[in-house]
């Protein structure tokens, strides 16, 4: 089934390339000097896309854990803090949040006496981390809650306190269920990082956009852009697979 679709897609693409004047692959033809320069320009966006994604993912994981912990508290008040954060943050579309952080946050900070300008790089990272943290928080919470109640009770009956139970019994087991979905979430961050192009961040999408303006070849350039993301995500998902397999082996 998959093969059929891929074959059909390739056929469509190839026939388009060969037969019609509507295609202009010369813009990214590595055989020509101009094409080669363009390709290098496009590929150079990888550095920032990866940097953005990795830093945002790390921050999101830390922030998500801080948000998840009150969600696991026996106190209703703390659980509310968690619910409100998660519901609020995940209901905001990424683009408005990005605008708010990039244009609005400096104003808010200035009004409380903190004078910082937020550059596109950190603006994008803060937004991505913030937006993603609601989801990572839920992954942590679900992973920790998935550990059977009996484990907690057994820990309690041998005298471990809440903190020790979490540290020695629950978390070591939960981490095996948390890591694969967390790695999966990284794929979303990579894709969401494309929005950073809007505030001028020179990453993959921005590069393609800028070239489209000068070359007037949106079809070819955006096709290339999609391939760039495809390669990036395929590499990550291979990593996720590997991680999942490893975690399974350790589960006894």
């Amino acid at each position: 089934m998959y093969r059929l679709i891929t074959a059909a897609g390739l056929l469509l693409l190839l026939s388009g390339c060969s037969s019609s004047a509507n295609w202009g692959w010369y813009v990214i033809d590595p055989g020509t000097e101009r094409g080669w320069i363009n390709i290098r320009f496009l590929l150079s966006g990888f550095t920032n896309t990866i940097l953005l994604s990795v830093i945002a993912a790390v921050l999101s994981m830390a922030l998500g854990l801080m948000v998840a912990l009150p969600g696991l508290s026996p106190s209703r008040g703390w659980r509310w803090v968690n619910r409100i954060y998660v519901e609020f943050i995940r209901s905001i579309p990424l683009l408005p949040m990005l605008f708010w952080v990039f244009y609005g946050l400096p104003v808010v900070l200035k009004s409380v006496g903190i004078k910082v300008s937020i550059d596109p790089f950190w603006g994008a990272i803060i937004t991505l981390a913030l937006a993603d943290s609601a989801f990572t928080a839920e992954i942590y919470r679900a992973g920790i809650e998935s550990i059977a109640k009996g484990q907690r009770e057994a820990a309690q009956t041998i005298g471990l306190n809440r903190h020790q139970t979490m540290r020695y019994v629950i978390l070591p087991q939960a981490i095996r269920r948390i890591l694969p979905p967390l790695a999966n979430q990284f794929i979303y961050i990579v894709k969401m990082s494309a929005f950073a192009s809007v505030i001028g961040m020179q990453e993959l999408t921005r590069r393609a956009n800028e070239l489209v303006v000068t070359e007037y070849r949106p079809l070819e350039l955006y096709s290339f852009l999609i391939l760039e993301y495809l390669v990036l995500v395929l590499v990550i998902s291979q990593g996720v697979r590997w991680l999942e397999r490893r975690m399974k082996v350790n589960e006894r």
Binding site: Q151, A154, T157, G159, L160, R252
Partner: protein, 246 residues
């Protein structure tokens, strides 16, 4: 009079509107062995779980060695530390080896050195007859072996009271006896025990008193002799007829 090991006076507990325990009175002397039976949903497990505070009762009094279980004070924690518990589903820690399962309590709660904790762990693994399984993970053991590890894990905390909540109900028939044998040996050593079980052969062998529960109440509380030969209530007689039929 000697201080009771466990004392329940007028204990009531509700899950929402449903009353699971009604006016439970029970006194267990040190070293006494109590076997609790009754139909499912009769409150046996809940009663046992209230004694070590996995569940909180809503009215009445529970005392362990004279210490009333209210609040989270030092004396309450001290009293609870004297109670070991064995679960139907074993609840071993799957990410730790057998030895690590046993050492966790002594090291983290009692603050023992690792070498000392390991000596304790190995001693109790011997007691439950599986010293050779020390370095395996729970998932590599049979159900009967896992349950014996769980018993050893409780014993490593050197409790004076052991609670068993249907310890053989999740086991294949051929593994039940290896667990019961360990429990019989434990009973011989003077441990105070409350055992929720339907293994009546075990009950006849070790019980000082039999408790029959139905609909959240203790219906029958008598020594095994009269309990099996002439139960006072119809409900208990019916129940025994049904489980002893085969």
């Amino acid at each position: 009079m000697q201080q009771a090991a466990i004392e329940l006076v007028g204990v009531n507990k509700w899950f929402d509107d449903f009353q699971v325990l009604t006016d439970i009175d029970l006194t267990v002397a040190p070293g006494e062995k109590i076997v609790v039976c009754g139909p499912s949903g009769s409150g046996k497990s809940t009663m046992v779980r209230c004694i070590n505070r996995l569940e909180r009762h809503q009215s009445g009094t529970i005392r362990i060695d004279g210490v009333e279980l209210v609040g989270d004070g030092r004396d309450v924690r001290g009293a609870l530390a004297e109670i070991g518990m064995v679960f139907q589903q074993f609840n071993l820690f799957p990410h730790l080896t057998v030895l690590e399962n046993l050492m966790l309590g002594p090291v983290k709660v009692r603050g023992k050195k690792r070498a000392e904790a390991e000596a304790i762990a190995r001693r109790y693994l011997d007691r439950v007859h599986i010293p050779e399984q020390a370095d395996k993970y729970p998932g590599q053991l049979s159900g009967g072996q896992q349950q014996r590890v769980a018993i050893a894990r409780s014993l490593c905390m050197e409790p004076r009271i052991m609670l068993f909540d249907e310890p053989t109900s999740a086991l294949d028939p051929e593994m039940i006896s290896e667990v019961l044998d360990v429990m019989v040996e434990l009973a011989g050593g003077g441990m105070t025990m409350i055992v929720v079980t339907h293994e009546m052969g075990f009950a006849r062998k070790v019980a000082d008193r039999m408790i029959f529960m139905d609909r959240g109440r203790i219906v029958e509380d008598s020594p095994p002799g009269p309990f099996f030969s002439a139960p006072a209530s119809d409900r208990c007689r019916d129940f025994l007829d049904r489980i002893l039929q085969h």
